[in-house]
Structure formats: structure tokens, C-alpha cells
Symmetry: C2
Subunit: 428 residues, 2 copies
């Protein structure tokens, strides 16, 4: 039997422990698929004394840098997460000639280009299928399968926690606070839910998706971001009135001038859109391209075992490349696209206004939209109470800046009450 | 600028003409993505005198074998279809050191192992993303992304023509014959629809999917097959009664003993199953795996331009490998799995019976199922007419052979009328 390829694992938390387990369960299969055995030679953890059932204690080390710098490691799997120390460890691994498999969206969305460049320079692989949408194969399809096409938009539900919360609010009519509490009790949301509910997690994934789809560098700071904490039961009900549901969507778009806009926003999506049917903790990515048309990829977006599947698919692929003495091309950021200024980014909008129910109100409102070049697709007046009425409006595609200016002007009108609510709209 | 990689195209029909068009439109992009220019150096066609708008006549040749045997071709794209002469041309191309991209499901489902072996022997790529489900990236996810996992089942809607026909029958309550005629007039079905409606097209795709998913050789002759020509408006109505729709499903399964069963059958699928929502000419592949869980891939299943997208993704990837002096591993058929005998293949079944409405009927029928070890999940009696009633039964998972034996015995009962109808059932 030929020499085994040596694999080092950094991290043994939710994902890492599953990577170790599945690796051991599947090692004969992997050997057949690669043509050489794979051996797990070390696992770097913070605390080597913590009991870890199923993991050989002899493999544990608290010297992660020493492990990746041994010089004989073929593949380093990084599932620590976060920038520090993951970044230094990955760069050290690459410098010592190891290919890297990582699930680290935060790191790649900030320092991806630097890491891809180092990998290319040292002739090693950097694979990261698990960094976006857990077990769903989306990185490889964008990086390889669709490389003969021109992707025009990517829209994704890439955060299961917020998808669960919004769906429960929709099904139960409950408030955000009530459902968040339930999600925390069930373990679907973290005690500090900020990264999920404020859209940071989704924004990091959106940056990675946009980089791949549009062949350009996109960083987390380029992504406009809005969380779900302000969504109310009334918003959910208003979405239902226009036959839609609210989802936290990551949206990557190309403008006519070739600039791109990448954003994460709670969005009303038509119930007929395939993304509207993505339930609970599932994720899905909807890709629009010039030639292939509309594609969707759906599956579990998180969880130790599904993420381990994605990580180990990359490990096997990196091992195959190793056996053949080659490595895959990294990020093809050969374009240097501009980021569309936030005010120029286009979307359709839903606006909810409270107005005094008197003659001329609709004319005044319509004139305000027209003044800013925003055309209306639909206007619906709710039943009036006393002398007040609710108006729900949906616009055609408009620039964010024009919508803001319209709202500023609407709020000057004496028959419009303060507190105009807006949401983006996707689908017919 | 470094030397261009030379691409030869075999066939300029619906797919080939779009491959040529998109290739020319995207050639600068491809050059950036590969790191070297790609040049289309020849197109083999049957009739070089036929007008072909947008295609340079100087590229045309009717000597396909001469083109692939030039010795300087880097990548041969085969979109002629069928076994003859595609097989000889592909083998000649491989022998002369060219990588091959093909969309030929018929060829691969019969002679795939021979072709993959020749490619491996000569150190060239054989890519075939377009052979299954048009533009949907499914081959690469199975071949690479999920290679760290253990796939347990693949279920697909892989034929758009039959999906369109069954959906129209469902929506309009029309007969198969009426809808087929409409589909032919719209160009969605061929004048001779046999390959689609009898399930041959889907069976070829199922053989390819099963080979990849289960790491074993599966040929078209291993696939059990049943078309949609016998489906009636009454069957569609019966499916609706159990909250299902009828789809032509390709299903690839692993039995407990590791043997596999691959079949194409019209199947009642629960409206809650993600595949139930796949409309018209769309295709979708639903993958179940041990670690990743349930994944679905959806998109346009056919058409010149979507298929060209898949073909050209493969061309760019083959070109990248060429530049790096490597090639991708072919079919990993390292397992030699048995094919489950048709009688032992398991599924859930729907049965529709006409019975004389008299005491003891249900007891007699239930006893017949019990005799063959088939347990019933649900029994529903329709309104009786005169002294007759319709019975719709759904079984738990049972062997095909036990269902056949049950039906034979049921037909002996004097209160059961001849003509018992069966369909498979998928989903809750």
C-alpha cells in the first residue's frame, strides 16, 4: 500500500467532532476514492483534557501552529472559525505546502483574496464548500460547473436561524421576540443571536457567493446589510396580503454598467417563487444566468454532520489533486468590478403608510412618488378605522436613494402619519 | 499571448449551434478563466452546404473522424448524440490525446465504462455534465462535492417532456392522448415521442446517476422502466385524492445487502415533497445521503442554450486541466454492486380496485395482502355505484414480486373485477 496522505484537523467543536467521526467511519471508502489511504494525524484543540468520545487522545494537541508547520501534512482542515488564529494557521499551512479545506466564512469574506493568492503561490488547494450553505454544493457549481456561463444574479436563503424565526412568525402570527425565545430554547438560535439576526452571517456568505459568481473581489464591508429584528407580525400580515412571505434574502446583482450590488435584506417574496417554499433550517441558493436560465440548490444549511459532509468532500477532492500533483484554480477574480453605491442599488419596494382618510390623499402620495421617478405597481387601501386608513404600496424597480427621498417627502405631507415601513420585494 | 487551446465541435444541431454561438460570445471571458485563449478550429456536420447563420463556413467539415484525429486538438465536444458514430469518434479523439466533453446520455449509459477507461488510459478528461438534466449541475456535485459522503438514494424528474404532459393532464383533467397532441404541436414532444414517453431517455440518465452515486457500473439494461402512456385521467384524479401528483420518477436505491435498484416509473408523489413542485419542462434531482441529508438541484432540463451552458462549463474546466497538465478522475466504479432483482426491489404502492359492494369484501382483500406479507397503510372506498365500489389502497414498503403475487390472487376473488391498476408511491 502506498503512503497515506496526512490530514490535520484544527478544531473539534460541533463541526470538527463530526469531521473526525465521519472521517474514521469512511476511511476505507476515501482510500478507494482517492487511490491512496488518508490518515488523520493530529487534531488541534484548546483543551486537550476535555473528554472527547470516539477521538483517540493521542491525536490531540494544543499546539495548532506546530501541527500545521510539521512539513509533512498534506491537507489541513480548519473548522475553528473566526479570523484569529485561523488566518495565521491557514497561511502557515499553505507556506508549509499543505492544501487547506476550511468552513470559515468570516475569514474568507474578509481575507479571502489574500488567502487564495497565497495558496496559488504555493501551488496548493484552498477549498471551502462548507463556508456557504452547509451541505449544499454551491461553491463548486459556481466555481466550475457554471464557468462557461454568465451569472446575472444570485439570491439565497443562507441563514437557517432567521429562516426558522420568520417561518414561525408567519405560521403562528407571533412576535419576533416570542419566536426568538423559542428558537433559543430549541437551540436553533444562539444565546447571543446577533450574528444571525442582524444578518452578519448571511452577509459574509453573500460576499463569498458574489466573488465567485461575478469573478471579482467582494468583501464583507461591500455588503449592505439589514437584519430581521424590526420585522413585526404586522409586516408578516402585510406580506401575506400581497401573497408573499418575508425571508431574509442575500441578493447579488449586476447593474447595467457592470458594477455589482450585494446585500442582505428582509424581503417579501412571492409565494410562487421557489425560494418561498424553503422551510425551517433549510438553505437554498437561486442562481440566474444568461444561458442556463434559473437554477436552484437546496439542502441543510448548517449542523455538524451536514457541514462535515461538505468538508470531507473537499478533503477527498484535495487528496485526489495531491495524488495527481495538481491543484484547483482558486478565486478567478480577474475582473475588478465596482460596487454599486448603496443609493443606486435597484430593487422593488413594499411601503406601508398610515394616512388620514380624506379626499386627495392618494393623488398627493402618487405625485410624491412620481416626483422621484418611482412608479407604482400596486396600491391597496385597508379598511379605515375612525378617519385613518392603511395604505400598502408596491413599486416597480427603483433606486434605494429615490425610495429614501420619496419617504422623506411623504413624511412631510400633513395627512401621512410618521413611521413609514419599507421592505424589498422579490418575484412576481 | 500563449498558444490557443484548440477545440473541435462535433454536431451543429439544436445544441451544437448554441455551443458555437455561446463559445464565440464568451471567448474573451473563457480566455480569462482558463489563462489561455480557446479557439474553435473545426465543426463536423453531416451537410456542409446547409446555411448556418453565425457560423463561419470555413470551420465546417464533413470529415468528423479526420477532425478528431488531427493530433493537435485539445478538446473535442461531442453533441451528435446516439451511439454510432459518436462512440468511435470519442474513442478516436481520446486515442489522439484530446479531452472530451459530451452530452451523450445514450452512449454513456451503454458504453460509459469503456469510454472512461480509455480516457483514464490516455490521461485525458471525459466530462458529461450536459448528459443528465441539461443545465443543472448534478454530475460534478455527485462526482466531487458529495465524494466525502455516502449517497443512499437519488430520485429525479429528468425528462421535461413527460413532466409537462403529466402536469397538463393534472391541471386540465385531459387525457394522455389529448395532451401529447398539444405537446407535439408546441414542440415540447417529438413527432415520435417514444424515447420520452416510454422512459428510455430517463432510464439512460438514471443509469448515469446511479453509477456516480453508488460508485459502480450501471448500464441501461440494468434499469427497470415503465412509461407514462398508460396513465389515465382517472389515475391523476386518484393521486389527487391521496393529496399527490403523478410524476415520472427516476429512482436509484441501495438495498440493505448493498445491491442497488434503478428504475423509471410513473409514481404518485406527495404534494408536500419538493419534487412535486417541479413544473413544466424543469428537471430536478433529489439526493439523500447519510451525512448531508436531503439535497435538491433544480433547473432547465433541456434546450439548446441551457445545454450549451453545461457543455461549455465542462470545456472551460477541461481547458484549465489541460493548462495544468492534469485531468480529472473518471468514474470511480471501484465497487461491483449487484443489481437487485426486479421482484425484490422495494417501493410503496397505490392500488385501485373495482369490487362488488357486499359484506366481507374488505376482509377478503386484506387477507390476500396479508398472505403475501404486504401491509396496508390506507384503504379508501369511493362512493358505490349500483352494487359496485372503487377501493384505493396504499401499501407500506413492499417487494415488487409480492405486489404482483398479491394482484394475481386478488384477481381470483369473485368480488374483484379484472383490471387492477398499480402505481408506485413516494413521500409521506
Amino acid at each position: 500500500m502506498s503512503d497515506a496522505l496526512k490530514v490535520a484537523l484544527l478544531g473539534a467543536g460541533t463541526v470538527g467532532s463530526q469531521v473526525a467521526r465521519v472521517f474514521l467511519e469512511q476511511s476505507e471508502e476515501f482510500s478507494s476514492r482517492v487511490g491512496r489511504p488518508l490518515e488523520l494525524v493530529g487534531i488541534a484543540v484548546k483543551n486537550i483534557n476535555k473528554p472527547r468520545p470516539g477521538i483517540d487522545r493521542a491525536l490531540l494537541t494544543d499546539d495548532a501552529l506546530g501541527l500545521v508547520s510539521r512539513g509533512d501534512i498534506d491537507i489541513v482542515v480548519e473548522v475553528i472559525g473566526g479570523v484569529d488564529p485561523a488566518k495565521d494557521l491557514i497561511l502557515a499551512a499553505v507556506t508549509h505546502g499543505a492544501s487547506v479545506v476550511t468552513a470559515n466564512k468570516a475569514l474568507l469574506s474578509e481575507f479571502g483574496p489574500e488567502i487564495y493568492k497565497a495558496a496559488e503561490h504555493h501551488g496548493v488547494d484552498i477549498y471551502y464548500e462548507a463556508a456557504v450553505a452547509g451541505a449544499i454544493p454551491i461553491i463548486r457549481p459556481l466555481r466550475e460547473s457554471l464557468v462557461g456561463d454568465e451569472i446575472t444574479a444570485v439570491t439565497g436563503i443562507v441563514n437557517g436561524t432567521t429562516n426558522f424565526i420568520l417561518e414561525q412568525m408567519t405560521n403562528l402570527g407571533s412576535s419576533y421576540e416570542e419566536v426568538l425565545k423559542e428558537a433559543q430554547e430549541l437551540g436553533y438560535a444562539e444565546p447571543d443571536p446577533t450574528a444571525d439576526v442582524e444578518g452578519f452571517d448571511a452577509a459574509a456568505k453573500a460576499a463569498i457567493l458574489a466573488s465567485l459568481a461575478f469573478h471579482t473581489k467582494v468583501r464583507l464591508s461591500d455588503v449592505s446589510r439589514e437584519g430581521i429584528t424590526a420585522i413585526t407580525a404586522a409586516d408578516i400580515a402585510a406580506a401575506a396580503e400581497v401573497n408573499g412571505v418575508i425571508k431574509l434574502l442575500a441578493r447579488c446583482d449586476v447593474a447595467d454598467d457592470g458594477s455589482i450590488s450585494v446585500g442582505v435584506h428582509p424581503t417579501i417574496i412571492s409565494r410562487k417563487h421557489p425560494l418561498a417554499g424553503i422551510h425551517g433550517a433549510y438553505n437554498a441558493i437561486f442562481v440566474e444566468s444568461r444561458y442556463a436560465g434559473r437554477l436552484m440548490f437546496m439542502g441543510p444549511g448548517a449542523g455538524g454532520t451536514p457541514t462535515a459532509s461538505a468538508v470531507l468532500g473537499d478533503v477527498v477532492q484535495a487528496a485526489r489533486n495531491r495524488v495527481r500533483g495538481t491543484f484547483a484554480p482558486g478565486l478567478l477574480a480577474y475582473l475588478d468590478r465596482k460596487i454599486t453605491p448603496a443609493a443606486d442599488a435597484k430593487a422593488r419596494y413594499f411601503l406601508s403608510l398610515q394616512v388620514v382618510d380624506q379626499p386627495g390623499v392618494l393623488a398627493g402620495i402618487a405625485a410624491t412618488f412620481a416626483k422621484h421617478g418611482v412608479s407604482l405597481q400596486s396600491v391597496r387601501q385597508n379598511e379605515s378605522e375612525a378617519n385613518h386608513a392603511g395604505l400598502n404600496l408596491v413599486t416597480h424597480v427603483a433606486k434605494a436613494g429615490d425610495i429614501s427621498a420619496t419617504i422623506t417627502d411623504l413624511e412631510q405631507l400633513d395627512f401621512v402619519k410618521p413611521g413609514i415601513k419599507t421592505l424589498r420585494v422579490e418575484g412576481a
